[in-house]
Symmetry: C2
Subunit: 179 residues, 2 copies
Protein backbone atom coordinates (compact mmCIF):
# COMPACT_ATOMS: atom_id res chain seq x y z
CA UNK A 1 0.00 0.00 0.00
CA UNK A 2 2.88 2.30 0.74
CA UNK A 3 4.54 1.39 -2.52
CA UNK A 4 1.30 2.02 -4.41
CA UNK A 5 0.93 5.42 -2.75
CA UNK A 6 4.36 6.44 -3.95
CA UNK A 7 3.71 5.22 -7.48
CA UNK A 8 0.39 7.07 -7.59
CA UNK A 9 2.04 10.24 -6.35
CA UNK A 10 4.96 10.05 -8.78
CA UNK A 11 3.12 8.85 -11.85
CA UNK A 12 -0.45 9.88 -11.28
CA UNK A 13 -3.38 7.65 -10.44
CA UNK A 14 -4.64 6.95 -13.94
CA UNK A 15 -1.30 6.33 -15.62
CA UNK A 16 -0.25 3.89 -12.90
CA UNK A 17 -1.63 0.46 -13.75
CA UNK A 18 -2.29 -2.38 -11.36
CA UNK A 19 0.15 -4.46 -13.40
CA UNK A 20 2.86 -1.91 -12.70
CA UNK A 21 2.19 -1.95 -8.97
CA UNK A 22 2.27 -5.72 -8.60
CA UNK A 23 5.34 -5.97 -10.81
CA UNK A 24 7.16 -3.42 -8.68
CA UNK A 25 6.21 -5.46 -5.65
CA UNK A 26 7.36 -8.68 -7.31
CA UNK A 27 4.03 -10.44 -6.88
CA UNK A 28 1.27 -11.65 -9.14
CA UNK A 29 -1.87 -9.76 -9.99
CA UNK A 30 -4.06 -12.17 -8.11
CA UNK A 31 -2.60 -11.29 -4.75
CA UNK A 32 -3.62 -7.69 -5.32
CA UNK A 33 -7.22 -8.60 -5.95
CA UNK A 34 -7.11 -10.95 -3.01
CA UNK A 35 -6.48 -8.08 -0.60
CA UNK A 36 -8.23 -5.23 -2.40
CA UNK A 37 -11.52 -5.35 -4.25
CA UNK A 38 -10.33 -2.86 -6.85
CA UNK A 39 -7.71 -0.28 -7.71
CA UNK A 40 -10.17 2.42 -6.74
CA UNK A 41 -10.74 0.92 -3.31
CA UNK A 42 -7.00 0.72 -2.70
CA UNK A 43 -6.68 4.41 -3.40
CA UNK A 44 -9.54 5.30 -1.10
CA UNK A 45 -7.94 3.22 1.62
CA UNK A 46 -4.66 5.09 1.18
CA UNK A 47 -6.53 8.37 1.51
CA UNK A 48 -8.38 7.33 4.62
CA UNK A 49 -5.28 6.12 6.37
CA UNK A 50 -3.39 9.29 5.52
CA UNK A 51 -6.19 11.46 6.88
CA UNK A 52 -6.35 9.47 10.08
CA UNK A 53 -2.60 9.79 10.54
CA UNK A 54 -2.55 13.52 9.92
CA UNK A 55 -5.34 14.15 12.38
CA UNK A 56 -3.67 12.01 15.01
CA UNK A 57 -0.47 14.04 14.65
CA UNK A 58 -2.38 17.30 14.91
CA UNK A 59 -4.25 16.33 18.05
CA UNK A 60 -1.09 15.00 19.61
CA UNK A 61 0.71 18.28 18.90
CA UNK A 62 -2.10 20.37 20.34
CA UNK A 63 -2.34 18.32 23.50
CA UNK A 64 -4.36 20.13 26.10
CA UNK A 65 -3.17 23.63 25.30
CA UNK A 66 -5.84 25.97 26.68
CA UNK A 67 -5.16 29.02 24.47
CA UNK A 68 -7.10 28.66 21.19
CA UNK A 69 -4.71 30.85 19.23
CA UNK A 70 -1.80 28.78 20.39
CA UNK A 71 -3.70 25.62 19.50
CA UNK A 72 -3.99 26.95 15.96
CA UNK A 73 -0.28 27.71 15.85
CA UNK A 74 0.64 24.26 17.10
CA UNK A 75 -1.73 22.67 14.61
CA UNK A 76 -0.18 24.55 11.70
CA UNK A 77 3.31 23.58 12.82
CA UNK A 78 2.39 19.91 13.12
CA UNK A 79 0.60 19.97 9.77
CA UNK A 80 3.58 21.47 7.98
CA UNK A 81 5.92 18.91 9.53
CA UNK A 82 3.60 16.08 8.49
CA UNK A 83 3.26 17.38 4.94
CA UNK A 84 7.03 17.61 4.77
CA UNK A 85 7.41 14.01 5.84
CA UNK A 86 4.61 12.75 3.62
CA UNK A 87 4.90 14.81 0.48
CA UNK A 88 3.60 12.00 -1.66
CA UNK A 89 0.38 11.81 0.32
CA UNK A 90 -0.13 15.52 -0.01
CA UNK A 91 0.10 15.07 -3.79
CA UNK A 92 -2.57 12.39 -3.58
CA UNK A 93 -4.88 14.65 -1.57
CA UNK A 94 -4.58 17.23 -4.27
CA UNK A 95 -5.40 14.76 -6.98
CA UNK A 96 -8.26 13.16 -5.11
CA UNK A 97 -9.97 16.52 -4.81
CA UNK A 98 -10.21 16.72 -8.59
CA UNK A 99 -11.99 13.42 -9.12
CA UNK A 100 -15.63 13.00 -8.29
CA UNK A 101 -15.02 9.38 -7.35
CA UNK A 102 -12.65 10.30 -4.56
CA UNK A 103 -14.08 13.61 -3.44
CA UNK A 104 -16.53 11.97 -1.00
CA UNK A 105 -13.74 10.02 0.71
CA UNK A 106 -11.76 13.23 1.05
CA UNK A 107 -14.54 15.51 2.14
CA UNK A 108 -15.38 13.44 5.19
CA UNK A 109 -11.85 13.87 6.50
CA UNK A 110 -11.76 17.50 5.50
CA UNK A 111 -14.97 18.19 7.38
CA UNK A 112 -13.33 16.86 10.50
CA UNK A 113 -10.30 19.10 9.99
CA UNK A 114 -12.53 22.09 9.32
CA UNK A 115 -14.54 21.29 12.42
CA UNK A 116 -11.43 21.12 14.58
CA UNK A 117 -10.03 24.41 13.37
CA UNK A 118 -13.38 26.15 13.39
CA UNK A 119 -13.81 25.21 17.04
CA UNK A 120 -10.56 26.87 18.00
CA UNK A 121 -11.43 29.95 16.00
CA UNK A 122 -14.89 30.25 17.54
CA UNK A 123 -13.38 29.97 20.98
CA UNK A 124 -10.86 32.65 20.05
CA UNK A 125 -13.66 34.94 18.96
CA UNK A 126 -15.59 34.39 22.17
CA UNK A 127 -12.49 35.18 24.19
CA UNK A 128 -12.01 38.32 22.11
CA UNK A 129 -8.62 37.18 20.87
CA UNK A 130 -9.74 36.82 17.26
CA UNK A 131 -11.64 39.48 15.36
CA UNK A 132 -15.36 38.92 15.07
CA UNK A 133 -16.03 37.54 11.62
CA UNK A 134 -17.63 34.45 10.09
CA UNK A 135 -15.62 31.60 11.68
CA UNK A 136 -16.10 29.33 8.69
CA UNK A 137 -14.61 31.86 6.35
CA UNK A 138 -11.63 32.35 8.65
CA UNK A 139 -11.22 28.59 8.86
CA UNK A 140 -11.08 28.06 5.14
CA UNK A 141 -8.82 31.06 4.71
CA UNK A 142 -6.31 29.61 7.18
CA UNK A 143 -6.49 26.22 5.48
CA UNK A 144 -5.90 27.89 2.13
CA UNK A 145 -2.80 29.66 3.40
CA UNK A 146 -1.40 26.52 4.99
CA UNK A 147 -2.07 24.31 1.98
CA UNK A 148 -0.75 26.73 -0.58
CA UNK A 149 2.40 27.68 1.32
CA UNK A 150 3.13 24.03 2.07
CA UNK A 151 2.73 23.05 -1.55
CA UNK A 152 4.79 25.92 -2.87
CA UNK A 153 7.60 26.11 -0.36
CA UNK A 154 7.84 22.70 1.26
CA UNK A 155 6.90 20.32 -1.49
CA UNK A 156 8.15 22.23 -4.52
CA UNK A 157 11.13 24.06 -3.07
CA UNK A 158 12.02 21.89 -0.11
CA UNK A 159 12.17 24.67 2.45
CA UNK A 160 12.31 23.69 6.13
CA UNK A 161 8.77 23.15 7.47
CA UNK A 162 9.18 25.17 10.67
CA UNK A 163 10.18 28.23 8.71
CA UNK A 164 7.23 27.92 6.36
CA UNK A 165 4.92 27.22 9.29
CA UNK A 166 6.07 30.39 11.04
CA UNK A 167 5.46 32.42 7.90
CA UNK A 168 1.99 30.89 7.59
CA UNK A 169 1.23 31.63 11.24
CA UNK A 170 2.39 35.22 10.91
CA UNK A 171 0.21 35.75 7.86
CA UNK A 172 -2.84 34.09 9.36
CA UNK A 173 -2.59 36.16 12.53
CA UNK A 174 -1.64 39.53 11.15
CA UNK A 175 -2.38 39.46 7.41
CA UNK A 176 -0.58 41.77 5.05
CA UNK A 177 -0.88 44.94 7.07
CA UNK A 178 0.23 43.62 10.44
CA UNK A 179 0.15 45.68 13.58
Amino acid sequence: MDFAAHRFADNGYHPTSVAEIVQGLGVGKGVFYWYFPSKEELFVEILREAQRDLRRIQQQAIGDQPDPVQRIELGILATMAWLDEHRHLSVLFEFAATEDRFAPALSRGREVAVGDLARHIKEGIVEGRIRDSDPLVLTYAVLGVVNHLARTFIIERGDPPEQVANAAIAFCLRGLLGR
Copy 2:
Protein backbone atom coordinates in the same frame (compact mmCIF):
# COMPACT_ATOMS: atom_id res chain seq x y z
CA MET B 1 -13.16 23.84 -27.44
CA ASP B 2 -15.67 25.31 -25.06
CA PHE B 3 -17.72 22.14 -25.13
CA ALA B 4 -14.61 20.06 -24.49
CA ALA B 5 -13.66 22.26 -21.54
CA HIS B 6 -17.06 21.66 -19.97
CA ARG B 7 -16.87 17.92 -20.53
CA PHE B 8 -13.38 17.78 -19.03
CA ALA B 9 -14.52 19.76 -16.01
CA ASP B 10 -17.64 17.67 -15.45
CA ASN B 11 -16.25 14.23 -16.20
CA GLY B 12 -12.54 14.59 -15.65
CA TYR B 13 -9.85 14.68 -18.30
CA HIS B 14 -8.99 10.99 -18.41
CA PRO B 15 -12.51 9.60 -18.37
CA THR B 16 -13.61 11.94 -21.16
CA SER B 17 -12.74 10.34 -24.48
CA VAL B 18 -12.21 12.05 -27.79
CA ALA B 19 -15.05 9.96 -29.16
CA GLU B 20 -17.35 11.41 -26.53
CA ILE B 21 -16.37 14.96 -27.36
CA VAL B 22 -16.89 14.66 -31.10
CA GLN B 23 -20.14 12.80 -30.59
CA GLY B 24 -21.43 15.55 -28.33
CA LEU B 25 -20.49 18.02 -31.01
CA GLY B 26 -22.17 15.93 -33.71
CA VAL B 27 -19.06 15.67 -35.86
CA GLY B 28 -16.67 12.94 -36.88
CA LYS B 29 -13.43 12.12 -35.19
CA GLY B 30 -11.37 13.26 -38.16
CA VAL B 31 -12.41 16.86 -37.81
CA PHE B 32 -11.03 16.86 -34.28
CA TYR B 33 -7.62 15.66 -35.42
CA TRP B 34 -7.76 18.13 -38.29
CA TYR B 35 -7.82 21.06 -35.89
CA PHE B 36 -5.90 19.62 -32.93
CA PRO B 37 -2.82 17.41 -32.99
CA SER B 38 -3.95 15.46 -29.95
CA LYS B 39 -6.28 15.39 -27.00
CA GLU B 40 -3.44 16.57 -24.81
CA GLU B 41 -2.75 19.58 -26.99
CA LEU B 42 -6.40 20.55 -26.93
CA PHE B 43 -6.34 20.57 -23.16
CA VAL B 44 -3.18 22.66 -23.04
CA GLU B 45 -4.77 25.11 -25.44
CA ILE B 46 -7.83 25.40 -23.20
CA LEU B 47 -5.56 26.12 -20.23
CA ARG B 48 -3.56 28.76 -22.07
CA GLU B 49 -6.62 30.60 -23.28
CA ALA B 50 -8.18 30.54 -19.82
CA GLN B 51 -5.03 31.96 -18.26
CA ARG B 52 -4.83 34.70 -20.86
CA ASP B 53 -8.45 35.61 -20.28
CA LEU B 54 -8.11 35.72 -16.50
CA ARG B 55 -5.05 37.93 -16.65
CA ARG B 56 -6.72 40.27 -19.13
CA ILE B 57 -9.67 40.67 -16.76
CA GLN B 58 -7.38 41.32 -13.81
CA GLN B 59 -5.36 43.97 -15.57
CA GLN B 60 -8.49 45.61 -16.88
CA ALA B 61 -9.93 45.74 -13.36
CA ILE B 62 -6.79 47.23 -11.88
CA GLY B 63 -6.47 49.87 -14.55
CA ASP B 64 -4.01 52.55 -13.51
CA GLN B 65 -4.86 52.56 -9.82
CA PRO B 66 -1.82 54.07 -8.08
CA ASP B 67 -2.34 52.55 -4.60
CA PRO B 68 -0.79 49.06 -4.47
CA VAL B 69 -3.09 47.83 -1.71
CA GLN B 70 -6.10 48.92 -3.68
CA ARG B 71 -4.67 47.21 -6.77
CA ILE B 72 -4.55 43.98 -4.80
CA GLU B 73 -8.14 44.43 -3.67
CA LEU B 74 -9.35 45.11 -7.19
CA GLY B 75 -7.43 42.12 -8.47
CA ILE B 76 -9.02 39.82 -5.90
CA LEU B 77 -12.48 41.13 -6.74
CA ALA B 78 -11.95 40.62 -10.45
CA THR B 79 -10.50 37.15 -9.90
CA MET B 80 -13.43 36.04 -7.79
CA ALA B 81 -15.90 37.32 -10.37
CA TRP B 82 -14.04 35.51 -13.13
CA LEU B 83 -13.87 32.26 -11.20
CA ASP B 84 -17.60 32.56 -10.57
CA GLU B 85 -18.29 32.97 -14.26
CA HIS B 86 -15.87 30.26 -15.31
CA ARG B 87 -16.20 27.61 -12.64
CA HIS B 88 -15.45 24.84 -15.06
CA LEU B 89 -12.09 26.39 -15.96
CA SER B 90 -11.18 26.69 -12.34
CA VAL B 91 -11.79 22.95 -11.99
CA LEU B 92 -9.46 22.35 -14.91
CA PHE B 93 -6.73 24.48 -13.35
CA GLU B 94 -6.95 22.36 -10.27
CA PHE B 95 -6.69 19.15 -12.20
CA ALA B 96 -3.88 20.37 -14.44
CA ALA B 97 -1.76 21.10 -11.40
CA THR B 98 -1.85 17.41 -10.45
CA GLU B 99 -0.54 16.07 -13.77
CA ASP B 100 3.09 16.39 -14.70
CA ARG B 101 2.15 16.69 -18.34
CA PHE B 102 0.17 19.85 -17.77
CA ALA B 103 2.07 21.39 -14.90
CA PRO B 104 4.52 23.20 -17.21
CA ALA B 105 1.71 24.82 -19.17
CA LEU B 106 0.15 25.98 -15.92
CA SER B 107 3.27 27.15 -14.19
CA ARG B 108 4.13 29.63 -16.88
CA GLY B 109 0.82 31.40 -16.39
CA ARG B 110 1.06 31.11 -12.65
CA GLU B 111 4.48 32.71 -12.64
CA VAL B 112 2.98 35.68 -14.41
CA ALA B 113 0.21 35.94 -11.84
CA VAL B 114 2.69 35.60 -9.00
CA GLY B 115 4.88 38.25 -10.59
CA ASP B 116 1.98 40.68 -10.89
CA LEU B 117 0.87 40.29 -7.31
CA ALA B 118 4.41 40.26 -5.93
CA ARG B 119 5.05 43.60 -7.64
CA HIS B 120 2.11 45.20 -5.89
CA ILE B 121 3.16 43.75 -2.56
CA LYS B 122 6.76 44.90 -2.91
CA GLU B 123 5.54 48.36 -3.74
CA GLY B 124 3.30 48.27 -0.70
CA ILE B 125 6.23 47.31 1.49
CA VAL B 126 8.38 50.11 0.10
CA GLU B 127 5.60 52.59 0.79
CA GLY B 128 5.30 51.21 4.30
CA ARG B 129 1.68 50.19 3.77
CA ILE B 130 2.42 46.47 4.04
CA ARG B 131 4.41 44.88 6.84
CA ASP B 132 8.01 44.08 6.00
CA SER B 133 8.18 40.35 5.28
CA ASP B 134 9.26 38.11 2.40
CA PRO B 135 7.08 39.36 -0.48
CA LEU B 136 7.01 35.96 -2.16
CA VAL B 137 5.60 34.31 0.94
CA LEU B 138 2.95 37.00 1.24
CA THR B 139 2.12 36.55 -2.43
CA TYR B 140 1.56 32.83 -2.20
CA ALA B 141 -0.38 33.24 1.03
CA VAL B 142 -2.77 35.67 -0.65
CA LEU B 143 -3.16 33.34 -3.63
CA GLY B 144 -3.87 30.47 -1.26
CA VAL B 145 -6.61 32.39 0.49
CA VAL B 146 -8.21 33.51 -2.75
CA ASN B 147 -8.09 30.07 -4.35
CA HIS B 148 -9.36 28.20 -1.35
CA LEU B 149 -12.17 30.58 -0.51
CA ALA B 150 -13.23 30.71 -4.14
CA ARG B 151 -13.29 26.95 -4.42
CA THR B 152 -15.13 26.45 -1.17
CA PHE B 153 -17.66 29.23 -1.21
CA ILE B 154 -18.14 30.20 -4.84
CA ILE B 155 -17.73 26.95 -6.70
CA GLU B 156 -19.04 24.50 -4.12
CA ARG B 157 -21.63 26.59 -2.34
CA GLY B 158 -22.48 29.16 -4.97
CA ASP B 159 -22.08 32.22 -2.75
CA PRO B 160 -21.99 35.65 -4.43
CA PRO B 161 -18.44 36.43 -5.55
CA GLU B 162 -18.28 40.00 -4.21
CA GLN B 163 -19.12 38.80 -0.72
CA VAL B 164 -16.45 36.10 -0.83
CA ALA B 165 -13.99 38.56 -2.32
CA ASN B 166 -14.56 41.00 0.52
CA ALA B 167 -14.02 38.26 3.07
CA ALA B 168 -10.79 37.27 1.32
CA ILE B 169 -9.62 40.88 1.23
CA ALA B 170 -10.38 41.37 4.91
CA PHE B 171 -8.44 38.26 5.85
CA CYS B 172 -5.49 39.07 3.63
CA LEU B 173 -5.19 42.56 5.02
CA ARG B 174 -5.86 41.98 8.70
CA GLY B 175 -5.53 38.23 9.30
CA LEU B 176 -7.26 36.57 12.21
CA LEU B 177 -6.37 39.08 14.87
CA GLY B 178 -7.39 42.25 13.07
CA ARG B 179 -6.06 45.67 13.87
